[in-house]
């Protein structure tokens, strides 16, 4: 048990380090810029008409305050942390006066849902098929699947999402290609709404699953073919254990361990994919929010989405890490 507690402690430490470094990167990136975001916002506003110098000065001061650019660098840094810990990113410039936190809160469930479902499906299906492909090497269908996985895996999310959009939007329009649910439905838990949400999620989820599955498939296939050569598998075969049982509880059980670590490691990359996929399909999640915020020049919103993404991904990684001992009992002992 103490081994498990030590493990949890180490993982928690790693989680805090990820958040710390991530937030510091965000701070450095925003503060090392040669362009003053305040002056940029002011020039954007004043280009529309004449504003009195007094009003500009007032606006400059309030924007400096808002962006956390007043005071010494140390004060600015501490203020930056204070706002992040309180999840207070001020009001959004593009959707004034809605707070950034509210906008993010509205978008978060969409991203989390899409990401969770597509990651679990891609990981589960990819590992299952990859395991079968590694065990039944001669099967033609599984070999073909390997070729498809090799062709799909290296394609960036944007390109595949765009291809799906062209196929199902222009050539064979059967699925909705934009939005999170039908516009005319109220967002309550009615069967119609749920159905519409599922229908709208098919294409974004499909593009995430198709690419994600490829890497789990290929990884699992090579892991399984390595485990197959181990003595304990040969022994089980000689002892007459049924082949399905060998595959599931002897071979795949062992090969799954590095795949779980792999999932934790690639979560950030999968999140990147979700961001861009959401933008392609106009899905109302964090990705669309981020990109639209850049187009609208909304500093607080961009910073807010970035920090929430770092936090969200590291919480996901922590969750996977804490489930890991269930699969690999050696962690509890050491």
């Amino acid at each position: 048990m103490s081994g498990y507690l030590a493990y949890v402690g180490r993982r928690l430490g790693q989680f805090l380090l990820v958040v710390f470094i991530g937030v510091n990167i965000a701070y450095v990136v925003t503060h090392a810029s040669p362009i003053d975001p305040v002056e940029q916002s002011i020039s954007a506003v004043t280009s529309f008409g004449n504003t009195s110098p007094g009003a500009i000065e007032q606006m400059r001061n309030s924007l400096r305050e808002l962006y956390g650019l007043s005071g010494t660098p140390v004060e600015q840094y501490l203020l930056f942390w204070k706002r992040i810990l309180r999840a207070d990113f001020g009001p959004s410039m593009s959707a004034f006066p809605t707070p950034v936190g509210t906008l993010i809160g509205r978008a978060l469930p969409w991203t989390a849902g899409l990401l969770a479902v597509s990651t679990i499906v891609a990981w589960g299906l990819g590992n299952l098929l990859g395991g079968l492909a590694g065990y039944y090497r001669q099967s033609r269908g599984l070999k073909l699947m390997g070729v498809i996985a090799m062709g799909l895996h290296p394609i960036p999310y944007y390109i595949l999402a765009m291809l799906l959009l062209i196929v199902f939007g222009f050539l064979w329009p059967v699925l909705p290609i934009s939005g999170g649910s039908a516009m005319n439905l109220p967002q309550t838990w009615t069967p119609e709404f749920v159905l519409s949400v599922l229908q709208h999620a098919i294409l974004p989820a499909l593009s995430l699953i198709l690419i994600g599955m490829g890497s789990w498939f290929l990884g699992m296939r090579s892991l399984v073919s390595n485990v197959l050569a181990e003595d304990f598998v040969v022994y089980a075969e000689l002892a007459g254990v049924r082949s399905w049982r060998i595959l599931t509880s002897y071979v795949m059980r062992n090969a799954l361990v590095p795949q779980v670590t792999g999932l934790a490691m690639s979560l950030g990359g999968i999140f990147n994919g979700a961001v861009i996929t959401e933008k392609v399909f106009g899905y109302p999640g964090l990705g669309s929010l981020l990109v639209d915020a850049v187009y609208a020049g909304d500093y607080g919103l961009v910073l807010g989405v970035t920090t929430i993404s770092i936090l969200g991904v590291s919480i996901g990684v922590l969750a996977i890490d804490l489930l890991y001992p269930l699969l690999d009992p050696r962690v509890k002992v050491s």
């Binding site: 990136v29 090799m150 960036p156 765009m162 991904v313 590291s314």
Partner: protein, 287 residues
Amino acid sequence: MAILLRDLLRHSPEFRIGAVLLAFVLLLSVLASFSPYPPESVYVVPPDVPPSLTYWFGTTSRGQDVFWQLSFAIRNTLLFGCTVALISRLFALVIGLISGYKGGWIDRALMSVNDTFIVIPLLPILVLFYFVMRDRISWLMLALIMACFGWAYDARLIRSVVMSLKAREFTQTSLFSGMSTRQILTEEHLPYVMPIVFSTTMNNMVWSIGLEVTLAVLGFTDINTPTIGGMIYWANQHTAMVAGIWWWIAFPTITVVMAFIGLFLLALSANAYIDPRSRLWSVGEAS
């Protein structure tokens, strides 16, 4: 080197296909030097002409020849990938070698930072970077910041190889014969690590080019330098798909997908070759 290439060509179908795909892409990028038009000029040919004998891949709504534009774009995109890969290889090598050889608290500290860089979602950070830099963002700046993030996974791989090298006898021998740590790492361990560095280079290029395409398509890079993502960005700006100018999107997409699959297959076959178990297996099956 020649023997290695011959073996790979003979025994690995992945390597053959990857090499052919990549050869096409490289040929196209080399052709950029013979382009009759400078890459930045617009309205040099009649706009919106479908693919024909005069304009092989058609022309864009901005009056550019898609073929020549594409050859500039793929050249810049590949150069970008190579730059990121080269710089990030340096980081990965230094951190991987030191971490694997030194062990102890240095290893733990470096690997904690390393795991952090693996996990952090990069796209929002790059978008934030573009947001504060705006038009000042340049090709090289983007390559540098991506290189700062692209080393972590490969440093872990290198570390694991060095850890096993450290346990072998020749490391002890060189230590007792008075070689310094730097000498042991660069002269004794580096040659064993190089195959992995080569195979990760190609995977790293797939990764960085993919991110660059993504950013460029959104318009979050220097959009005046022709790149594959930049071409798709301009095509989207002119709603090429809706207007029926499919060749403006199709040819860049096909080219970059060929590059991705080619690089990935080369990395895959190189990995299989490095691992002695799978090398024996593939040679055994072929003969």
